[in-house]
């Protein structure tokens, strides 16, 4: 016993040592550990290569930063509050903060990225914008910045999603965007992404593709994570103001593709005292055949330009996921999250439809905030985690529930 105990202790120590100061960043080949890369047909090579060669210098350019920061402040409404959720904290006997990305213009964190990418597209001399969207939040955020900048915009959306998310379709149209139905495959987010990529292949010179999550070929995952990193940048100084320390004990975020999680984790990747909690959608349950929990059900594979964890058959055909939340209904995850999972730096939980809906209604009742169902998955993980009384937990409230009203109504139970 003594021996095996000390062996275990040794392994744990070594693991800790390995994790310590772990660098979660993309390498020169576009990989996070074993995941990432740029698996694109040659037709897309010039576009992606142009981005790869320019994105860092543009992002680091002082005038770009100034313009980006200015728009985030005056247009998006940043910084978003870091709100101490008193009654929720009482329930869980700990200190819970909500990062209020739901208060961003257009109702979710998605706009942080679209503001960044449209400024970048302008600097690359592009005249037209395309995007994919699932629930419509990224589509609306893209349509919004295109209206702002007077740029032509086409958003691909699965035909099934268009029917499910009618208000967002009309929002995009009001903003002057053409919404094109993706009619191939399962007619949802995956297929909308395929159609957007096909459009880009057919229009390689004048068009920029604004990908909405930390997915796609390198440099998209890194670029989108950098635009979203403003979330954890703000959490750091906001927490310092209220708690006298920059680092919480836990940061919790939901993961579909994983852009809000990447932003909330970004400045904590190498802070070992901060536990990074990613929450996937378990749909009707991970064994039910109706789930979107990629780290539970997926294997390494290639989709939409990167090697990542992917829900697929043994023959390598991509499996259609399921979640009540359209924003988490994606068969892969960003390569950075696949790496967080594989390396052990991130802890992954999954929440079912039912757990998420309950958590959404709970937050509405305790704090007067109706969360997006995506974000409600993050809240649902609080029931599964164990923490000490003084632990500080930051939950990234990535979006507001307005768009999900119909789903809440159908679900009932309030």
């Amino acid at each position: 016993m003594g021996n095996s105990g000390s062996l275990l202790a040794k392994i744990v120590t070594e693991l800790r040592f390995e994790l310590k100061g772990m660098k979660i960043e993309v390498d020169s080949r576009g990989y996070y550990g074993n995941f990432g890369g740029a698996y694109i047909p040659e037709m897309l090579f010039p576009n992606v290569e142009e981005l790869r060669q320019n994105y860092l210098s543009i992002l680091q350019d002082a005038s770009f930063r100034q313009e980006f920061d200015h728009l985030l402040k005056t247009y998006v409404g940043r910084p978003t509050p870091l709100y101490y959720a008193t009654r929720l904290s009482e329930k869980y006997q700990s200190k819970i903060y909500l990062k209020r990305e739901d208060l961003c213009h257009t109702g979710a964190h998605k706009v942080n990225n679209t503001v960044g990418q449209i400024l970048l597209a302008k600097r690359l001399g592009k005249q037209k914008i395309i995007a994919e969207t699932g629930a419509g939040q990224h589509g609306v955020a893209t349509a919004t910045v295109c209206a702002l900048m007077g740029m032509e915009c086409i958003v691909y959306m699965g035909e099934v999603d268009m029917a499910r998310q009618r208000p967002n379709v009309e929002r995009m149209r009001i903003l002057g965007t053409e919404v094109r139905p993706a009619r191939s495959g399962s007619k949802t987010l995956k297929d909308a992404t395929n159609e957007a990529m096909r459009h880009w292949i057919n229009h390689p010179v004048d068009t920029h593709y604004i990908i909405g999550s930390v997915v796609g070929p390198h440099p998209y995952p890194d670029m989108v994570a950098r635009f979203q990193s403003v979330i954890s940048e703000e959490i750091k100084w906001q927490l310092k103001e209220t708690e006298g320390r920059e680092n919480p004990d836990f940061v919790v975020a939901c993961v579909g593709g994983g852009s809000n999680a990447a932003g909330a984790f970004y400045h904590y990747f190498d802070q070992d005292d901060v536990q990074l909690i990613a929450v996937e959608a378990a749909g009707l349950g991970n064994q039910s055949g109706e789930s979107a929990a990629t780290t539970v059900l997926g294997k390494p594979g290639v989709l939409h330009g990167s090697k990542t964890l992917l829900m697929q058959t043994s023959d390598g055909q991509v499996v259609e996921p399921y979640s009540i939340s359209a924003g988490l209904d994606y068969p892969g995850i960003g390569p950075v999250h696949a790496h967080l999972f594989e390396s052990g730096r991130g802890q992954f939980y999954s929440a079912t439809d039912e757990e998420a809906m309950k958590a959404g209604i709970l937050l509405s009742r305790l704090e007067g905030i109706i969360p997006a169902i995506e974000s409600a998955h993050a809240l649902a993980a609080l029931d599964k985690m164990s923490f000490e009384q003084d632990d500080i937990i930051v939950v990234n409230l990535s979006g507001r529930g307005d768009k999900d009203l119909e789903t809440y109504i159908k679900w009932g139970g309030y």
Partner: protein, 265 residues
């Protein structure tokens, strides 16, 4: 295991024949699941020079509607990479022309690179076209095992590919280079524009080490003739899939189609 490759059927073909090489693509398991080997045989008999057997994939991003649909039908029919290998197991008893497998990287990854190459060598597959396997990844992770099994990896170039990259691709190619005729997915509108002609001329003037075949938008004798004037030949895909969708007598229609494209009918 020897790394040096013996002569490959693709290389032999291009040594013997310098012009009007016709390569035809079709999707395995389409229109019916058991058609795969028959179509290869009919194509060879009808006079195609190369056959490209498509491995169906759920998310074929480089393909237009016609090939997307054939992929979907084939998958619904129950096709898989393993089944394609089974269907082609005896193909070398009846077919001598080069056979290429074309598809997306993910099904190949799941099969296992080594196992895939081994199976290809066993059957007598000569080359592979995997559009979403980029050159750098190929060189670092795939080239050795491909070459050890006598498999040529065929790269694509497009009108947007820079001269420097065309040279790099040429340097890493064996067999031929797949020249995508325009910035498009497969099955683009037929007809060849002046800007495409300029691109064909640009590539021709580069005097590459490898021959080129022009694909995408080649559908009939007229476009095959045009393409053949600027390259060693051309590749037909979507137009052939459309023929397969509508055929009542497959063998006869394939024969008629190939003969009409080559101009011998």
């Amino acid at each position: 295991m020897s790394i040096t490759m013996t002569k490959n059927r693709i290389e032999e073909l291009f040594e013997q024949k310098k012009e009007r090489i016709l390569s035809v693509y079709f999707t395995a398991g389409f229109p019916a699941i058991d058609d795969t080997a028959h179509i290869v045989e009919h194509l060879a008999k009808a006079g195609a020079d190369i056959v490209e057997v498509g491995i169906p994939y759920s998310d074929p991003v480089a393909d237009g509607p016609t090939i997307q649909e054939s992929n979907k039908v084939a998958l619904d029919n129950g096709i898989s990479l393993q089944l394609i290998f089974d269907q082609l197991g005896d193909i070398r008893k009846s077919v001598d022309i080069p056979i290429i497998l074309m598809g997306y990287i993910n099904p190949v990854l799941q099969y296992g690179i080594e196992a895939f190459c081994k199976k290809c060598a066993e059957i007598g597959i000569d080359g592979v076209i995997l559009p979403d396997l980029p050159m750098q990844e190929y060189l670092e992770g795939y080239k050795n095992v491909f070459e050890a099994h006598g498999l040529l990896n065929i790269f694509l170039i497009t009108p947007q590919t820079s001269d420097a990259r065309v040279r790099e691709i040429d340097g890493n190619s064996r067999g031929f280079i797949y020249m995508v005729s325009s910035a498009s997915t497969t099955g683009a509108k037929a007809g060849i524009s002046s800007s495409q002609l300029a691109y064909f001329e640009r590539i021709k003037a580069m005097k590459l080490n490898n021959p080129t075949l022009i694909g995408f938008g080649i559908s009939d004798k007229a476009t095959f003739d045009q393409a053949s004037a600027h390259a060693s030949g051309a590749i037909i895909g979507s137009a052939f899939i459309q023929l397969l969708s509508n055929t009542k007598n497959m063998e006869q229609d394939i024969f008629g189609f190939i003969q009409s494209v080559k101009g011998k009918a």
